[in-house]
Symmetry: C2
Subunit: 384 residues, 2 copies
DNA sequence: CATCGCGCTTAAAACGATTCAATAAACCGA
DNA sequence: TCGGTTTATTGAATCGTTTTAAGCGCGATG
């Protein structure tokens, strides 16, 4: 069984091909397989595989052979079939990226960071969006398992999520990293900002500006970020002897919608104003909350920052573009995406070499970004 | 006894097992193959395949058999290996989603729409971000081809992109749809908003509010949206006898960065103000441009909307949250994502049945969203 | 002279599914 | 009893790779 030469693989590279509005497979010969390359170059598929992958055995292959094979591959426009390759080698070179809610502006920079790092490492991201729903989360996980992703990254910013379901991944020895979320116990790796330091930065900034009557909108109870941010605030307050006025402290309700922070910020601020509370500055849980607060203040005729300073947290894209632009505590979101990829990449190679890998908990440093929404306390209302 | 994701047959969940920071494959027997199911149920792999896929032949399979096989599959926690399946059936059930620049807030809702529709149809999105760079665009396309995506969606909002490289997809009979971009000639399907109608809506709104001295910031020349929006504006103007003051018309420079609209809007507005131009309203090319303009106006002490109304285009997420919130022409972005998926899905089934498929050009209707940044012209400055 | 090593290449067995042609059993009318 | 359907199941080929162990020709070694 050795036909002289393949009959099909003539790909006519004439470009002057006009198809007005309809497409049609030009033929089946369009798929160039490794065998074609083998035949064209006069070597066996095995050799072709070894050369093209630069496998260990390639060191024994004669340079002339390599050249011929590479040439043939190029000429035929050979493109390896990822599925076939994966089937044999068990390596899909893809990573599941699960977003709890893609709608959150928080996600976008993270996603870019993830995509970028994965791209550098020649991994492809398979995207899934849980829409904040547990069943979608689980079904998507299922899908990712079927596709044999080599790792999983969960961007779990604003969420509940019973990450118990991640157990299956551990069981299958698939590295998992979460961003913006953490689990008690060393079950999965995580990347988060140092929320406590962030909380501290926010209050420190306002305190330095001379603000003493400061209102707070704390994050929802179920959010993991809420507590440490508040803790950072409290610690700083007591360190400088600042007494937090509890009547100026409010808290966002638990809500699934990421943009609920905006509404919450708006409503809580309105309530404070209605109660005739006096404050010269407000620390919001995150940027959207801050924007909501600003909206309420503006609506009440209070100018930001002239009469009241507002600080946010996160530094999402809109913060720089709102008027006034928002002073905020920046999370290095894109970097966090990169970090998560590093973590799972390390996990993948470890798992490849049948080593154990360590669960790591990265904490990135927040950074104060001073913009227009805060300024030194005005004389008229500085002290009571 | 029915955990969310069916658990392993007999992994003892001994709780006394503390893995302080390390994971380990519990064994190799973890992969349940179809043969395992066959063996467990007492039938052949062929039958198992037929039953589990509900293939045509399944109509001949005895109900009892089906039940046994399904039971066995469930009990073993069988999960089909997507790669193996794809290798044989030639169907990857994945779609390439190429973003020219994920950073653009324009992308997010589209992405959600795409993901959602794909999810419904049991397709997985493989994500790629071109970072506005041609070489990345091409390399990513290459990657998608290797992975044998069944279709491609390109979200090409703010871009140049020589979509010539899409030719390979056509050659391989892979349906392609673009969102926010269109190519001359019927080479690829596209989904876009009706920009002309949108332009009309914007001006009509301001005109109705009594504005007559209106400034315009047109979109960059190379952007496909720019011309039709402007055309819509012009058409409406002439239809009501409104004379556009050319000295109030500016244009954004060609820039790659999606957020360059903000800077551009800011700068151009500042220039207008420096030239002491009088206008009571401003129509910006898009929302970011509008926010930039508002920033400039605010900085110059001009209140929006009291002294100057501003209208945007797109209705990206921040528009509702800025202060003042932005009156804008809404693009149904999420819907556009859905539409694109419909288009390529139709293409896929056609290609499956070896039929030709038609290249379609969907045009969605824009919608005026009236918020706080526009209001009736004030008496003081209505007429010159 | 047999044996070995060396340098280069390949045959053939996986990988885990799908699919088609083939078979076996059961039923049915003549 | 026999051919002919219909029902129910399966053997074996196949998809396009990777990988392991082996093959081959040949000069060197013992």
């Amino acid at each position: 069984m050795s036909p002289p030469l393949q009959s099909e693989p003539k790909v006519p590279d004439d470009a002057g091909h006009r198809d007005g509005g309809v497409k049609r497979a030009s033929s089946k010969g369009i798929t160039v397989t490794m065998r074609d390359v083998a035949q064209a170059s006069g070597f066996s598929p095995a050799t072709v595989s070894i050369v093209l992958n630069n496998a260990p055995l390639a060191q024994y292959i004669a340079p002339a052979t390599k050249k011929k094979i590479e040439e043939a591959a190029r000429k035929l426009g050979y493109r390896p079939n990822a599925m076939a390759r994966f089937l044999r080698s068990k390596r899909t070179h893809s990573v599941g990226v699960m977003l709890i809610d893609i709608t959150d502006p928080f996600c976008t920079p993270i996603l870019r960071g993830i995509e970028n790092s994965l791209y550098q490492a020649s991994y492809a991201p398979i995207l899934a969006d849980a829409h904040n729903q547990k069943n979608r989360f689980e079904r998507a996980l299922e899908m990712l398992l079927e596709r044999h992703v080599e790792a999983l990254i969960v961007v779990a910013n604003w969420t509940f999520v019973d990450i118990h379901v991640l157990a299956d991944f551990n069981k299958r020895n698939i590295p998992v990293a979460t961003i913006g979320w953490d689990l008690p116990g060393d079950t999965v790796s995580s990347v988060m900002v140092d929320n406590e330091a962030g909380g501290r930065l926010a209050l420190e900034h306002l305190h330095k500006l001379g603000h003493r009557k400061i209102a707070f909108i704390r994050g929802p109870r179920m959010l993991i970020d809420s507590a440490p941010r508040w803790k950072g605030i409290q610690k700083f307050a007591s360190s400088v002897g600042h007494e937090i006025d509890q009547t100026l402290v409010t808290q966002l309700p638990d809500g699934l919608d990421p943009s609920s922070g905006f509404d919450g910020g708006f409503r809580l601020t309105e309530e404070l104003l209605q109660k005739r509370k006096k404050f010269t500055a407000l620390v919001a849980f995150d940027d959207l909350t801050a924007l909501g607060a600003i909206r309420a203040l503006t609506k009440a005729g209070i100018k930001v920052p002239d009469q009241c300073s507002v600080a946010g947290f996160d530094d999402v894209a809109l913060s720089a573009m709102s008027s006034p632009s928002l002073t905020t505590v920046r999370q290095p979101l894109e970097t966090m995406g990169n970090l998560a990829v590093n973590v799972i990449l390390e996990g993948i190679t470890a798992s490849q070499e049948k080593r154990d890998w360590t669960i790591s908990h990265q904490r990135t440093s927040p950074e104060l970004v001073i913009r227009e929404s805060t300024r030194a306390v005005s004389l008229s209302s500085s002290d009571d």
